[in-house]
């Protein structure tokens, strides 16, 4: 508990240190706040004096000429009001600009930069939604509430101090009552807001649970119909729905208690002032104006206190959001190596006793050793989950082996700058990712400097030139969000063209299993053949027919390399590969 407090304190300090570059702006904002408070404090005094003079005038029956006499005071009062609102707006606008550009925008940029340096493993394990909620939700909260907290606390402190001083100067006895009531009001509101925070947390949790159930039910729409699960999902929904309704009620009701509590203490102050003030007026010690002024002050004194409950919960939210954002920014990054590869790459790859697991205690690949000569076509086959894709992750240095080494032209890649290793490979993956840009930009993704002629040549060689020119804007056709204007097979062809244009000495091909119609399939096969020419290629095969001509077939099952050889050699061996191959054609 205490540790947590310390932790929260450290987070606040860190936030504070990061505010240093905008210190001058914050100081200016604080200065505006101060002036604003002075204006606000001057107003009740002026109004009190005016009312006093009116009352005196009425008592003495000397009202004539009073409007004219009071005009300067009234004008001053109006100026005070105007000044405080102008300053108030100036302060908000300034803070808004400072916080949004320094914190909201700044943190988002840092998160985006951080993304570039995070290991692929982190991204694989983390739902996209989580990163987005760091970047959008948490940073947004941080910016929004930071502003509130700063304003609330700075303005509140100034106002409390200034009003207290002014009140005491006006009348110490009356001021005492107001000030004495303050701790009581404070204590009550913090009590309520503590319960409030707890209830709101519960409400957010059950709201999330309800969204989960709703999402599940709607995305399984067809299954629900096919298995007549309507009642089942409705019961599930109703359970969460009811919980949310209860928690919503509790949260909003407790939140609604803050106002009456504050109102009660305000009224107590009001009544006490009236009582004591009336008695003092009767004794002739003070005038009506003083009572008026103190009552107005009491209201001003109460308003920052009313906000204090909110400010405290905002502060909690700021700390919680900052904690999550810093947690993200402090994540371990991809280790950096500085070794260099020679300019010329021949493309010999060697695995030496490579063992790797995504979790240290569960190896996915166990002591894998093999050698690929420059220009060879290496096929990797085996059952799903056997470790084929993991091999690619290691080759590309998306992950690092737990033990053993991967050599490229005899050099251990673990010592070499990741970018350089990756720069020797081109990839065509099952998951055909295209970025939101034009077709031309996508084909040139791995070689941004390529000329139009080069791009077209690459597309011709990989059989997608015709497909592209058939599109309404040809090479300048933009790829829509989620690339809905392209079929799976067309996307596959584009990624092949992309790999071709990147022109790297080594190649990784992860074949698509499905989602491609027959004719496109044939085109893809031809395009891949073109692409592989003269490069060391690693092909993850799902259909054995495509790898019959491989120079070497690696059979991987349950993390071990169990067979190795050409198609013919492996068939003659009548082992695992033989069974796998025949299972495709056997009659059931």
């Amino acid at each position: 508990m205490d540790n947590k407090k310390k932790e929260n304190y450290r987070v606040l300090l860190r936030l504070g240190r990061e505010a240093a570059p905008i210190g001058w702006g914050l100081a200016l904002a604080a200065g505006m706040n101060l002036t604003l408070v002075l204006c606000a404090v001057a107003a009740p005094q002026l109004l009190g004096k005016i009312i006093q003079r009116v009352c005196d005038g009425a008592a003495a029956g000397a009202l004539a000429g009073l409007p004219r006499a009071l005009l300067p005071s009234l004008a001053l009062l109006l100026a005070c009001y105007a000044g405080s609102q102008v300053l108030s707006y100036g302060n908000i606008a300034l803070m808004n600009r400072l916080v949004t550009s320094h914190f909201t925008c700044g943190f988002r940029l840092r998160i985006s930069e951080k993304l570039s340096r995070l290991p692929v493993g982190y991204v694989d394990q983390t739902p996209v939604g989580e990163v987005l909620s760091r970047m959008t939700g948490d940073v947004g909260d941080l910016g929004g509430y930071l502003h509130q907290v700063f304003d609330g606390l700075v303005l509140g402190a100034f106002q409390l101090a200034a009003v207290a001083v002014a009140m005491f100067r006006e009348n110490p006895a009356l001021a005492c009552f107001v000030v004495v009531l303050t701790p009581l009001s404070l204590w009550l509101t913090t009590q309520v807001s503590r319960v409030c925070t707890k209830n709101f947390d519960a409400m957010f949790d059950s709201s999330e649970a309800l969204t989960g159930v709703t999402e599940e039910a709607f995305s399984n729409f067809e299954t629900a119909r096919a298995y007549a699960l309507e009642e089942f999902t409705q019961d599930k929904h109703e359970e969460k729905n009811h919980a949310l309704a209860e928690n919503t009620f509790r949260a909003h009701f407790t939140a609604g208690l803050v106002a009456p509590v504050v109102r009660l203490t305000n009224a107590a102050a009001y009544i006490l002032i009236a009582l004591l003030g009336g008695w003092l007026i009767l004794r002739g010690t003070i005038g009506v104006g003083t009572v008026v002024t103190v009552i107005l002050y009491a209201q001003q004194f109460a308003s920052p206190l009313e906000m204090l409950g909110d400010d405290i919960s905002y502060l909690h939210w700021v700390v919680a959001a900052a904690n999550r954002v810093y947690g993200f920014l402090d994540l371990p990054e991809e280790p950096v190596q500085t070794g260099n590869l020679p300019e010329q790459t021949h493309g010999a790859v060697e695995f030496q006793d490579v063992t790797f697991g995504y979790r240290k205690d569960e190896p996915i690949l166990k002591e894998i050793s093999f050698r690929a000569e420059p220009g060879q076509k290496i096929a990797i086959v085996g059952p799903t989950g056997g470790g084929k894709t993991t091999l690619v992750n290691l080759l590309m240095r998306f992950y690092d082996p737990d033990s053993g080494a991967i050599l490229l032209d005899g050099q251990d890649t673990a010592q070499i700058d990741r970018e350089q290793v990756r720069g020797r490979f081109a990839m065509v993956l099952q998951d055909t990712w295209l970025f939101p840009g034009t077709l031309r930009e996508n084909v040139a993704y791995g070689n941004p400097g390529a000329s139009m002629a080069e791009i077209e040549r690459a597309c011709c060689r990989t059989h997608c030139h015709r497909l592209i020119t058939a599109m309404p804007q040809g090479y300048d056709t933009p790829i829509r969000e989620d690339s809905a204007n392209l079929s799976g097979g067309q996307k596959q062809l584009l990624t092949i063209a992309r790999a071709f244009l990147a022109d790297r000495p080594l190649l990784i091909l992860d074949e698509a299993t499905s989602n491609v119609d027959t004719r496109t399939e044939i085109l893809i096969q031809r395009a891949m053949d073109t692409l592989m020419k003269g490069r060391t290629s690693f092909v993850i095969a799902h259909r054995l027919s495509t790898i019959v001509d491989a120079d070497k077939i690696l059979v991987i099952d349950q993390g071990r390399l169990i067979e190795e050889g050409t198609h013919q050699e492996l068939l003659e061996k009548k082992g695992f590969y033989y069974r796998l191959y025949n299972s495709q054609y056997e009659e059931g």
Partner: protein, 571 residues
């Protein structure tokens, strides 16, 4: 909007009481300055301490009454809002559950989830704010004006004059702000989309060393967003200071005019003047709140319209009551055509085919060939646009959907599981199934992995904690548990390797002997083992027969065969 209000009907009594309580509370608030001015007038100027005490007592009473009413009112109104939201969410959910597939597809899952959750939240927020604002603001404002009127009508009119000014200002700002917020929300969406893309494409981005550009894209979107946010925020922040200033100016004007009235001898006193200034202060808070309600109104209206659209969406009508029958498992399609709503080309065109009861039929073809559409028509998700479908000799268009679904046990492409345990998910196939039966089905579905996990293993939302292959096998086991004359597998073996598929195939042959099996697939190896194969291409049936017949007669089938086997061996 009207539909939304209709759901408030059951609560009108409580709302009335809550309104009364809040009105009382507002009045009590307003009475304080009045009592105060009486106290000053009679007690102070009358030099009567008794009157002062009495005044203070009155104020205490009003405060307690006011606070009590406020708590009671908020108790009632939060209860109403919480239940109202729950009602709306339930209504949307249940409507979607009975919605027809055309509507479901045209609105989309994500949008419907938003309607059933976030939109309700937005509307409820408005309901809270409105119920507060509609009741307390007029009470406070017009109560204040009324009380002023009792003291001096000229001053009351002066106060009223400021009202249109404030509302004019608010509506003007509101008009300016909404597009700014839309722009800002749009830029947030764009940034999210960029990040989403970047995370999805991380391997390609890293492989081609484009991290710097990916970051630059996000960075420029972020800068645009921050500019949009600043201008939207700045515009919105204008409301509170300007409104406050206007009300302050009203107070100054009232004081100035008041002095003239005092001079004129209308019976107005100095303390009265102070009371009026207090009324203005009391109303200003509620006026600012009202301003924000007005500005947020369009948001809530959009949300309310979206919910209304979901609630009014057409539902599937049943042509006949449910029957407790088991039909014979034969299927016949007669010249069936179907086009998706909004689809340019028909998904299926003039399909006629017959699958005799107890046979194993494959439907093969590439993406977009119409295989899944065929399954959807069989399951009664959509009615065919033309032609007729018969199951066990009965026309589907005259059959209750529940009766139809009792005849079919499908494994759908999406491999959908629900949060809960493995046992719960399996029992959806047969609610009364014993554990042994579950194990038998799992065994047949090659789901041996459940042995390690146990039947009570938790399944997370949509089965996120299981791999694609595991989900597929659990769905197969669930389908096997359901006892039906026809079993339908829509691309259900795609995540299984060849060896597992072969084992599954022989287990199915044993378990489903005598049942009709329909296998929708892209794999020749699957089709080759079926009694009958139907080849779809571009929505048309281009071949029907056995594997060897089709190799001879069907060009498309040959092409698929060649591409998958390298054309090396035949049969």
């Amino acid at each position: 909007m009207k539909t939304m209000l209709g759901y408030l009907k059951p609560y009108w009594m409580r709302m009335l009481f809550s309104g009364l309580a809040l009105t009382m509370s507002g009045l009590c608030d307003l009475l304080l300055p009045t009592v105060m001015s009486d106290l000053l007038n009679q007690g102070v100027y009358g030099k009567d301490f008794q009157m002062i005490l009495l005044g203070c007592g009155k104020m205490l009473l009003f405060t307690l009454l006011g606070v009590g009413c406020q708590v009671l009112g908020s108790l009632l109104s939060t209860r109403v809002v919480a239940n109202y939201c729950a009602d709306l969410r339930r209504a949307v959910f249940q409507r979607v559950n009975r919605m027809d597939f055309e509507t479901f597809g045209s609105i989309g899952t994500a949008a419907l989830v938003t309607r059933a959750t976030k939109d309700v939240q937005t509307v409820s927020w408005l309901a809270v704010a409105l119920s507060d604002a509609v009741i307390t603001i007029p009470v406070l404002f017009f109560g204040g004006v009324g009380l002023t009127m009792a003291k001096d009508w000229v001053l009351a009119l002066a106060m009223l004059a400021f009202l249109p000014l404030v509302f004019l200002l608010v509506t003007w700002t509101g008009k300016r702000i909404n597009p700014l917020w839309e722009e800002s929300d749009g830029s947030v969406d764009r940034q999210n989309e960029l990040i989403r893309q970047r995370l999805r494409g991380i391997r390609v981005i890293r492989a081609f060393q484009r991290e710097r550009d990916a970051h630059e894209q996000v960075a420029s979107a972020t800068r645009v967003m921050s500019r949009a946010m600043i201008s939207a925020n700045n515009a919105e922040s204008l409301i509170a200071p300007v409104t406050t200033f206007l009300l302050n100016a009203a107070a100054v004007l009232v004081v100035y005019l008041g002095i003239f009235r005092l001079e004129g001898g209308t019976g107005l006193t100095g303390p009265d003047l102070f009371a009026i200034v207090q009324y203005i202060a009391l109303t200003s808070g509620s006026v600012i709140n009202a301003a924000f309600v007005i500005i947020e109104m369009p948001h809530a209206r959009v949300a309310a319209e979206r919910i209304g659209q979901a609630l009014r969406a057409p539902i599937q009508e049943e042509p006949a009551p449910r029957e407790e029958v088991t039909l014979e498992g034969s299927i016949r399609l007669e010249d069936v055509s179907f086009t998706y709503p909004g689809g340019a080309a028909p998904a299926l065109e003039h399909i006629s085919l017959t699958i005799p009861a107890g046979k194993k039929a494959a439907i093969i073809g590439g993406t977009g060939a119409g295989k899944t559409t065929l399954a959807r028509l069989l399951l009664g998700f959509y009615p065919p646009a033309e032609g007729k479908i018969y199951l066990g000799g009965r026309d589907l268009s005259g059959l209750n959907r529940r009766t139809l679904r009792d005849q079919l046990s499908p494994v759908l492409q999406s491999a959908a599981l629900y949060s809960g345990t493995i046992r719960e998910n399996l029992r959806m196939g047969r609610p009364e199934a014993l554990d042994e039966e579950l194990w038998d089905a799992l065994e047949a579905a090659q789901a041996g992995f459940v042995r390690e996990l146990g039947l009570d293993h938790p399944v997370k939302q949509s089965g996120k904690n299981l791999s694609g292959g595991q989900k597929q096998r659990l769905c197969i086991a669930r389908a096997l548990l359901k006892n039906a004359p026809v079993y339908l597998f829509d691309d259900s073996f795609s995540a299984l390797d060849f060896l597992t598929e072969a084992a599954l195939r022989s287990a199915l042959a044993k378990r489903l002997a005598g049942k009709t099996q329909i296998l929708i697939t892209q794999r020749i190896s699957t089709a080759a083992h079926c009694d009958l194969v139907f080849v779809l291409d571009g929505g048309s049936l281009v071949g029907a027969g056995t594997h060897s017949q089709l190799l001879e007669s069907c060009q498309v089938y040959r092409e698929i065969y060649d591409s998958q086997t390298g054309g090396k061996e035949h049969g």
